[in-house]
């Protein structure tokens, strides 16, 4: 198992290096004058000259790449032209909000998606199954940003059940920062009122975000369960007189969801992508809304830093998924 983990970690090195090369090319090589691009739209010639010197743009390209590597290693990604603060500290401050949101959405998608997929498989070709198929294909076809606005329209503006935007109401002091996740921090500090407020705020964005994931998880679970139901051991268990519900929810499900876990890594990419628009709509102070602001204000360094950070998180998530997969199914560990 240790060998598997180490090999899996090694596999990620080339693609992370490639990611560095890619962002380097986008940042330094493609723009006509990278110094001007980095300095922003309203920079003075003196500022541009300072940047040219600091980044070594008068040096040969390989040397520039080494400078870039050193900067990334030191988490020195430059200052945002938008906020004036270092990009790395902006991202570090906003990352917990995005992780909390995506994790909540993924958990919801899994908890709801797996039972729905299982039921669709057990009752396959029934009316329930057909409705589920339309719902799951529809879930993947809905534009998350539009769905978010419709939810706001109905539950915040019309019914006034849920808050319209933000992580907490404006003016509410944030819980003491321990993990950066409001739901966790408020519980750790015993502030149930804040927990309740944070929960109300996260509900709509998380529901929006979970939609696509829920549809995928339900579909993969359905396919997996249908496959497993054909296996000999199911017939054996039936013959041995096990209750049908026990066979399905324990033995069949355990043998089916293993393959579905690998999909969660892929889903995470889709989640982060939808998070960009969803965060912008709900004013959720994460890296998605940060990226949107960066784009609207041509904040070059910020957008490339987000690309880099998301790439790294994506790699970490996929490693964790593969390790989980190997723990659940030891045969996987043999293949690497």
């Amino acid at each position: 198992m240790t060998r598997f983990v180490l090999r899996r970690l090694l596999l990620v090195v080339p693609s992370l290096f490639g990611l560095l090369v890619l962002t380097f090319i986008m940042l330094r090589v493609l723009p006509n004058d990278p110094s001007a691009a980095l300095a922003g739209e309203n920079a003075t010639p003196a500022q541009i000259a300072a940047i040219r010197k600091a980044y070594g743009f008068d040096e040969p390209i390989w040397k520039q790449f080494l400078i870039y590597l050193r900067q990334v290693a030191q988490a020195d990604l430059g200052n945002s032209t938008n906020t004036g603060r270092p990009v790395s500290s902006d991202i570090a401050r906003r990352l917990p909000a995005t992780i909390e949101l995506t994790f909540f959405a993924l958990a919801f998608a899994t908890i709801v998606g797996i039972p729905l997929g299982t039921l669709a498989a057990v009752w396959h070709n029934s009316a329930f199954d057909h409705i589920m198929r339309i719902v799951t294909v529809g879930g993947l076809a809905i534009a998350a940003f539009w769905f978010a606005i419709i939810l706001q329209l109905v539950f915040a503006m019309d019914l006034e059940w849920l808050p319209l935007r933000g992580r907490l109401a404006v003016g509410t002091p944030e819980p003491a920062r321990i993990t950066g996740f409001f739901l966790v921090d408020s519980l750790l500090t015993g502030r149930l009122d804040l927990f309740w407020a944070a929960l109300q705020h996260i509900l709509m964005p998380a529901l929006t975000l979970s939609l696509g994931g829920l549809a995928s998880i339900a579909r993969f679970t359905r396919a997996g369960v249908l496959d497993t139901l054909q296996k000999d051991f199911v017939g054996y268990a039936e013959a041995a007189g096990y209750r049908r519900s026990r066979i399905i929810w324990v033995y069949v499900l355990r043998n089916s969801v293993v393959a579905a876990t690998t999909q969660i890594g892929l889903l995470f990419g889709a989640l982060i992508s939808s998070a960009v628009a969803v965060e912008a709509i709900f004013d959720w102070p994460g890296i998605g809304s940060y990226a949107v602001n960066a784009i609207l204000t041509s904040d070059y360094k910020a957008i490339l830093a987000v690309t880099l950070v998301v790439g790294v998180i994506y790699a970490i998530v996929n490693i964790l998924v593969d390790i989980t997969h190997a723990l659940l199914d030891p045969r996987v560990a043999e293949t690497l």
Partner: protein, 278 residues
Amino acid sequence: MLILKKFLRDVPAVLGFVIIVAVILVALVAPPLASVESVYDGNLMERLKPPSAEHWFGTDNLGRDIFARVMVGSQGALAVALAVVVIAIAIGVPAGLYAGYTSGWGSELVMRVTDVFLSVPQLILALAVAQLIGKGLESAMLALALTYWPFFCRTVFAETRRVRNTLFVDALEGIGASRWRILLVHVLPNVASPVIVRATIGMGFTILTTAVLGFLGIGATPPSPDWGLAISESREYLPDSWWAVTFPGLAILVTVLGFNLFGDGLRDLVDPRLRRSR
């Protein structure tokens, strides 16, 4: 004809096909029929009117007819998605054929580059690329195509590798067929069906992503009747003018649903291993 019969029995896939045909017809017919006033100029006396017999989907903040705009908007949505998918195929398929058929450092290089592109979620990468090449619909299109080809490359690579190891390719090499001949005449038709399936689903996916870019303000620019842009323009008139946001979103939903349902049905036809129900 067996395959057609099989397809016709798949009701959701047929529904998808019907939707696609309907959207294509609307995209061809609507632009010449719609008046410039109702789509672009508007009539401020008629602004933010709810749906009625005269304006089926109501009017927006400039008094433009939303039904006309949604219908005309289908043309842009289809054209952009088609362009993106065609460019992505034009890059991804040759790259995948090359990497799959040859082995060596060239093939390795192509696949590693593919890996790098796939190691960042497509939308994030497209945002960065769009930022780099400037705002506007053309650059958004290019950004989406430049980040979408790796999906085709992966698919074609896997299929080509599979076909390369079959006996008939060995035999062709044995009788001295040229590499071009083998690739174009014998390998390409074998990889075509997964590419077509991916392209169909990719059309829906790209319409969604383009709408997101339009919504975020880096795709189509006003006064374009782009669906994503329309949703973002009408957002500030909520909750009173709900129709201005609702209908463009429904148009996206129906169109993408059509491509997804059809793509799903196609996949079942060409790849029985992935069949949904047995």
